[in-house]
Symmetry: C2
Subunit: 279 residues, 2 copies
DNA sequence: GAGTGGTCTAGACCACTTC
DNA sequence: AAGTGGTCTAGACCACTCC
């Protein structure tokens, strides 16, 4: 706990324990940050470095969704830092919904499989609270492989001509068609995905992606618009042509902000609304 | 730092320092929480209690928006807890956007007045990044006082017949009308609000509410729908009647989740979209 | 009882801002 | 140089879960 020790910690940050030992030159890290460093970040708190290491283990699949990660004490020992520093790193990952803490049990890799109310990402709420029976139904209209259209390729960071899986489906609530989804997935990541697999699977679609294809959705960006129903959509959602619909274009991202799903949804908003909270 | 001291802290939590000393019986708080407590919360971490006290000072106006609050060390002394405990309380308030920390300067009461990009709550984004000139214009159509319609009264937790201020306005971007807003405010809180005051004020409307009426918007809940433009709206937004518009009903809340504004917006989404992030 | 995360403290040092 | 928030550590105890 002397000054010496403190500095030793500081200068050996990058060499800190990690499963595949990183032998990068220590000199790459500024000694104390005291001197006027050149441009750039030039400094990263210890807990951020620990956070990045944990993130790497998550990404590499060292701990699978739903599993417990090592206890804070174990992680502290592994990374040779105090428990408090690990705690702060884990706190941030938990705040980002990548980890879930459960007092007395441990810290777990977040999963879409047993999400509390099923649909973590679906913001559509019924105007009238639904009578207990959450009678939702998924109707898969289509699931096929094709070369990505230009706009889809661009959104998913694919090369023009790369294969994608396209899924079309309708969600029904209380017996009424409410959502029409058109979904594109990179073919490379979703080999073997078929309409049957989709139909058979119980639970959220993102749970299937996670358990069957190892693709974990972390966050998503949505663009909302109001549009008029064309003939096809009008039929699918059983509304007159020209009915205003809520258009929701969602780009889902996995670790490292890599796009892995583009989804274009059209929502009927006569008996439902899209809920959002600003803060 | 003996056990004795620890317990002393615990049992005197509620009596902890606060400007108007609270003389509530210490016995009201469970001693250690060890015994099987009855139903209810029955336990609140120290930092949550400190957080509540800071919140109370914010609500009472002890520190005004934009001002610095006492340093962590001062707060720790005032509340007779460690700096770390104050820090955790402040951390949470900062995460909720009620406080803003600035390294080396202090912790400040958050404000809408000098918000970074002006519109913290407006999620409408242009399809094409706007050429530097953020040429937005506000056109106030109306500002009058009337008795609250039933639905407005219900949303704002007012009694039927209470007075409200109704404001109608159109927002223009790049010379084009994009947003039609219909806004209701409790008359009791906004005495003296006139169309002139609104027109004169530069900066976000929530900034004016804050500095002129002491009403600070903390968070808001929105319900989005797609609707068709009726004749009046069509004229105001210069679109054909029946054009799909994004309907955004916003309920803004202040401290203690008290509703203080109901806003019904209709957005043209032909050149803009409503951006949302899911995580 | 053992193990986990959750709270609380105390003290050191660092980085940033202001004087 | 002084004051502020930011990081890091070490150790204590508490609450919860499981055996």
């Amino acid at each position: 706990m002397t000054d010496r020790t403190k500095i030793a910690f500081k200068t050996s940050r990058h060499a800190v324990v990690t499963p595949p030992p990183n032998n990068a030159a220590d000199a790459a890290l500024p000694a104390g940050g005291a001197s006027a460093s050149a441009s750039g970040p030039s400094f990263s708190p210890l807990y951020q470095q620990i956070k990045a290491l944990i993130l790497r283990s998550l990404q590499s699949g060292e701990w699978r969704p739903g599993e417990a990660i090592p206890s804070e004490i174990e992680l502290a020992a592994r990374f040779k830092v105090s428990q408090g520093t690990v705690r702060k790193a884990v706190d941030e990952l938990a705040a980002e919904n990548l980890l879930t803490r459960r007092q007395g049990k441990g810290t777990f890799v977040a999963t879409h499989a047993e999400e509390q109310v099923q649909y973590r990402f679906l913001r559509l709420m019924p105007d009238q609270p639904v009578a207990e029976s959450t009678d939702s139904r998924r109707e898969f209209l289509d699931c096929r492989r094709l070369r990505a259209p230009a706009d889809v390729a661009r959104a998913l960071h694919l090369k023009p001509g790369d294969m994608v899986v396209e899924i079309r489906r309708v969600l029904h609530f209380s017996g009424c068609p409410v959502v029409f989804d058109d979904i594109w997935l990179p073919g490379r990541l979703f080999k073997g995905l078929t309409a049957d697999r989709l139909s058979e699977y119980r639970g959220p679609m993102y749970g299937l992606f996670e358990s069957e294809f190892g693709v974990r959705m972390i966050r998503a960006e949505e663009k909302l618009r109001a549009v008029a129903a064309d003939a096809d959509i009008a039929q699918a959602l059983q509304v007159p042509q020209g009915t205003p619909l809520l258009s929701v274009e969602r780009l889902s991202l996995t670790y490292g902000d890599q796009p892995v799903e583009l989804r274009r949804g059209l929502y009927r908003t006569d008996r439902h609304y899209y809920r959002n909270e600003l803060s």
